[in-house]
């Protein structure tokens, strides 16, 4: 994907007929875009498997320790979790609109939607930070200082390990996505994109939606195990 993003750095066009963003080893701009998009999709496949290892651990221990899972989920703040879900899905919407704007060549709108997406992403991270801080104060961070009142403490530590593993990895992806978007927004601001070539916007959009999808699963898996008590 980085190649798509930095494609402007190496316009080796030997003839004027070439689009400035066409890299020398591609025949056409279409080929180049298709390659970049395909590369991004394949990258997302690896991301799915990346989360897969943690999710497998989640699945196993949820089957083994259902009571700990219920109790663990009750420890989490459902209001903040739900708010973050809304925020993140909202950011997916603005991202999709941003891609649409880039596609139609609306430069200002593109920048605007991208900035809005970043703002929502930041909101998510800030809320997440407060959630983490609360867990920190309660000594719910797994490790030697982990404390939990009750007979399920060891299993709760596994629950919180998975909670922090999964949401931490997700937050890391958010931070990467945020950085990516700030570069893209800057490029959009500089007028780097045209309706013929806006691949970087499209690719970072795919990435952002993927991060959103991960959260769509994490929210019910972690926060909504069983709230009937």
């Amino acid at each position: 994907m980085a190649d798509g993003l930095t494609a402007h750095a190496g316009p080796h066009g030997d003839g004027q007929a070439h689009h400035p963003d066409l890299q020398h080893h591609f025949q056409t701009l279409g080929q180049q875009q298709e390659a970049a998009t395909l590369g991004m999709w394949i990258f997302l496949v690896t991301e799915v498997m990346f989360f897969g290892g943690l999710l497998m651990a989640y699945l196993l221990y949820r089957v083994w320790y259902p009571e700990a899972w219920v109790e663990g989920s009750l420890e989490l703040n459902i209001v903040l979790g739900a708010t973050n879900t809304v925020v993140l899905i909202g950011s997916s919407l603005t991202m999709a609109l941003g891609v649409r704007a880039a596609q139609t060549g609306a430069q200002k709108a593109t920048v605007g939607w991208l900035l809005l997406t970043m703002a929502l992403g930041l909101t998510f991270l800030v809320i997440k930070f407060f959630e983490y801080r609360e867990k920190w104060e309660l000594n719910h961070i797994p490790g030697p200082n982990f404390t939990f009142e009750g007979p399920l403490a060891p299993q709760m530590q596994i629950f919180f390990s998975l909670y922090f593993g999964l949401t931490g990895l997700h937050a890391l992806h958010m931070i990467i996505g945020f950085t990516l978007l700030s570069v893209i927004a800057w490029m959009a601001h500089r007028g780097r994109f045209t309706p013929e070539w806006y691949t970087p916007v499209e690719l970072s959009g795919l990435y952002w939606h993927f991060v959103d999808i991960v959260w769509i699963f994490l929210f019910p898996l972690l926060y909504l195990v069983d709230r009937t008590h």
């Binding site: 320790y65 259902p66 009571e67 399920l152 060891p154 008590h229």
Partner: protein, 338 residues
């Protein structure tokens, strides 16, 4: 044993001939295939050799029937091996009921064996010839693997749970005992010997050392740790009666049926709240740190030794009649049973 290069370890258990026969069969099949291919390659390489590099080969591109033949025939052959090997494996997994039980713990870097009658030994295991022996074992630290090459059996020792293996020794003598799962610095020193004895000699050996039997030691622990104050045999205590429960099934508070086996007893002592029997309050504290692996094994042996208190050990009637009757169908009871 040192004369020349041996090709096979000694056959000293009921499994050894089974495994070796399978081994010979697989060796024969694979050697046949290997020779077939190697001979063909050599024949082709010599017969069709072209020193000039100028000639071209015959225009042959493939043959679907040949492809199918060498896909299907090997598949069928492997299925024969698969079926045979699986039968042998399940024979190894299913210990006979009347097996002589021995407990063991592995830790860096030694094996400790505990006989039910009270004898215990380190890096040495005495067993009688001709009688099924089941070894139940766990690890106190990292993974180990209990391996008797002459018996062709092996299983990993995993901290936090029980593994088991069984064999019937068929030949008296001394054989290797290895740790097969890498466990740190002195992994290759975590070895010992298994001594197969005539039954009479074994009895003599057993009575030579002494102390209490495991069940008796388990009973002592049962008193010391206070288990006895709740787990009354008549079922009127705060905890379920344990008499005759080993090997039966219980319904848990969350509606799941579990078998009362070594692992369940162990878990119930260490994490009593995890799998609570339906109809009981979660009152029992954990005994983590208060009882070691051998103590756990003794407790298990004690619970095993408890005779059924005249009650049917049926799974649908997990608790004594004196308890507030837990509904047999747990689902509607829901949180009520807590």
């Amino acid at each position: 044993m040192l004369s020349g290069i041996p090709l096979f370890p000694e056959q000293a258990s009921n499994f050894a001939p089974e495994v070796d026969n399978l081994y010979f069969f697989v060796t024969a099949v694979t050697a046949f295939v290997a020779l077939l291919v190697v001979v063909l390659v050599i024949i082709f390489a010599v017969k069709y050799r072209d020193r000039t590099g100028e000639k071209v080969g015959a225009p042959i591109h493939g043959s679907v029937s040949l492809e199918l033949a060498w896909t299907i025939i090997p598949f069928l052959v492997t299925m024969v091996i698969f079926a045979w090997a699986t039968v042998v494996f399940f024979h190894m997994v299913r210990a006979p009921d009347q097996a002589l039980e021995i407990y063991s713990t592995g830790k860096q870097w030694m094996w400790r064996f505990q006989h039910i009658d009270g004898q215990s030994e380190i890096n040495e295991l005495h067993v009688p010839v001709g009688r099924p022996v089941k070894v139940t074992f766990t690890s106190e630290d990292v993974l180990h693997s209990l391996y008797f090459p002459a018996f062709r059996v092996k299983a990993d020792a995993i901290p936090g749970r029980y593994s088991s293996l069984w064999f019937t020794a068929t030949k008296t003598g001394e054989y290797h005992l290895f740790c097969a799962e890498y466990c740190g610095t002195d992994h290759s020193g975590m070895i010992g010997k298994v001594v197969v004895m005539e039954p009479n000699d074994y009895q003599a050996w057993l009575s030579g050392g002494g102390g209490l039997s495991m069940a008796a030691r388990g009973e002592q622990l049962f008193q010391q740790l206070g288990c006895v104050s709740c787990h009354l045999t008549d079922g009127s205590g705060r905890g379920p009666s344990l008499a005759g429960k080993y090997g039966a099934q219980e319904i848990l508070a969350n509606g799941v049926a579990v078998a009362i086996d070594d692992t369940y007893v162990r878990e119930s002592i260490l994490t009593p709240q995890m799998k609570l029997v339906a109809g009981y309050q979660p009152l029992m504290p954990t005994f983590q740190g208060l009882v070691n692996e051998e103590g756990l094994m003794s407790l298990i042996e004690y619970i095993k030794s408890l005779p059924s208190a005249g009650q049917p050990a049926a799974a649908t009637q997990p608790s004594a009649a004196t308890q507030p009757a837990p509904p047999p169908n747990p689902a509607p009871a829901g949180g009520g049973s807590q």
